[in-house]
Amino acid sequence: MAIPGEGRSRVFDEVLLSVENISLSFGGVRALSDISFDIRKGEIRAIIGPNGAGKSSMLNCINGFYHPQQGAITYKGVRRARMRPHEAAAQGIARTFQNIALFKGMSTLDNIMTGRNLRMKSGLFWQALRIGPAAREEIEHRRVVERIIDFLEIQHIRKAPVGQLPYGLQKRVELGRALAAEPELLLLDEPMAGMNLEEKQDMCRFVLDVNDEFGTTICLIEHDMGVVMDISDRVVVLDYGRKIGDGVPDTVKNDKAVIEAYLGVSH
């Protein structure tokens, strides 16, 4: 377990995803300019930066929702062409959202089951009859989903419509939905935003457990510096769409450019 404030001082060698010289703009507005960094297999990578620094845009590029005008993203050694988000999902990239994006008309169970859609193959015909492969498949995946529900300690809200759940639980269900895909790379966009201390601690525990138990590589955006410094292995810092720092938490914490970006500087 990590010692608070000390980072996790683990070493990772194998690059899972690398971002090379990415630039993204909307009309005339530059969201990202010339950003490069990598995410290594098994690590917890944090992206930090002030509001509007381009963090969410970065995640959107990684999972194929935005298409950068320049630069390239290489995932598992393959330089990837322009792809749609569902293709990124099929390659093992899952994510959660800054503003919760659950399916409001569905129950917790159905939301998490939907996370397994890529692994469910039975066709319309069997679905209509719901016998044979369709019925077996449904039960098999239910078993996996129940394990996720146990892991996240949300058994009691299994059948509740997610729209009515409190914020913290919704965030947890969303994490469950992402985990259901059994991703290799999990992108978390501010998983602890708006939570109280207790909820934050729970969420930190889940993130660390996911990383430890399933070996999932995690890339997260977070504003709470304490949390970032505690749980992440390496941190990349963005400001106004540029990269201003990259390294283990201790190095980043003491970097002059980073401190200026966060605290402001008198000229």
Partner: protein, 358 residues
Amino acid sequence: MFYREAGQYKASYGADQAIFPIAQDRFVVLAGMAVAFLVVPFLASEYTYRAVLIPTVILTLAAIGLNVLMGYCGQVSLGSGAFMGVGAYAAFNLAIRLPFLNPLVCILLSGFVAAAIGIAFGIPSLRIKGFYLACATLAAQFFGDWAFLRIKWVTNHTPSGSVNAPPIQMFGYDLSSPTATYLIALTITIVLGLAAKNIVRGHIGRQWMAIRDMDIAAEIIGVRPLFAKLSAFAVSSFLIGVAGAMWAFLYLGSWEPAAFSIDRSFQLMFMVIIGGLGSILGSALGAIFIVLLPIFLNQALPPLGALIGWKISTATVSHFESMIFGALIVFFLVVEPHGLARLWSVAKEKLRLWPFPH
């Protein structure tokens, strides 16, 4: 007291995922089916069959079809009337051109024709959403109106544009009596309705609902919009097409393109909204309501008008009908977007606790 699930333990995921997990629901459904199949045929008059039972049963299937698209997949369609027409004319052409096919087989096959055309008209949904799509489906409606009237082979070059269904029979038995027609329609609707229920509670149905609730998030967790939307269009058009073929063969007998006009589209949409978006049971409730209301108004309004010395004509009744439907749509959207089906489930919630509310 009577509607409780306490004590009904589920020992497997299979039992928990059953179509009607609660014993009382199973009982109600079976009893309802028994009444519909075994009791109704002894009680119903010819008028009841023609005016109430047969239209309700057939339109229930059409409403289920539209609900798959609108209520589950969130794609608004104003072209469902035309798709009923596609089913009707497809069945007609199959029956004319392949005379060895039983008319009932033609009815079922027509669903596949409607599904294929539904997929074609569903393609715009990949680029456009919401009311843009609703406008686009109007294109299907108007194109259908035109095609049924002007493309001559569709009506087998009938000069008047009016076509006739072949007599319904099987194994040499004549099945054109109201009772037989009703039982055939009921069987088809129940079988396809249960199939639709199975699909919407399986993984394909979950993909549809994911697209409906938040399409971007759905795509990011791996739902392919192309497959999800087009499969919804296909299933929806299949059901609507079969309903259209039944409407033509089992209810109308002979028909003109006007039977499948935009008014039909609106009627189906009202059934879905009033019955409940995203509910198979609601589709049936909506169909019952929309079929019965005009009959009720036609009976009730003229005497009521006479009481205050106002002579109410049939035209006035139809204007009242239009007003009442309009007001109900707004009412349900404001007060209860999940329609009659939601009222039903609220009633069940209450019943679970009755007579001790705490």
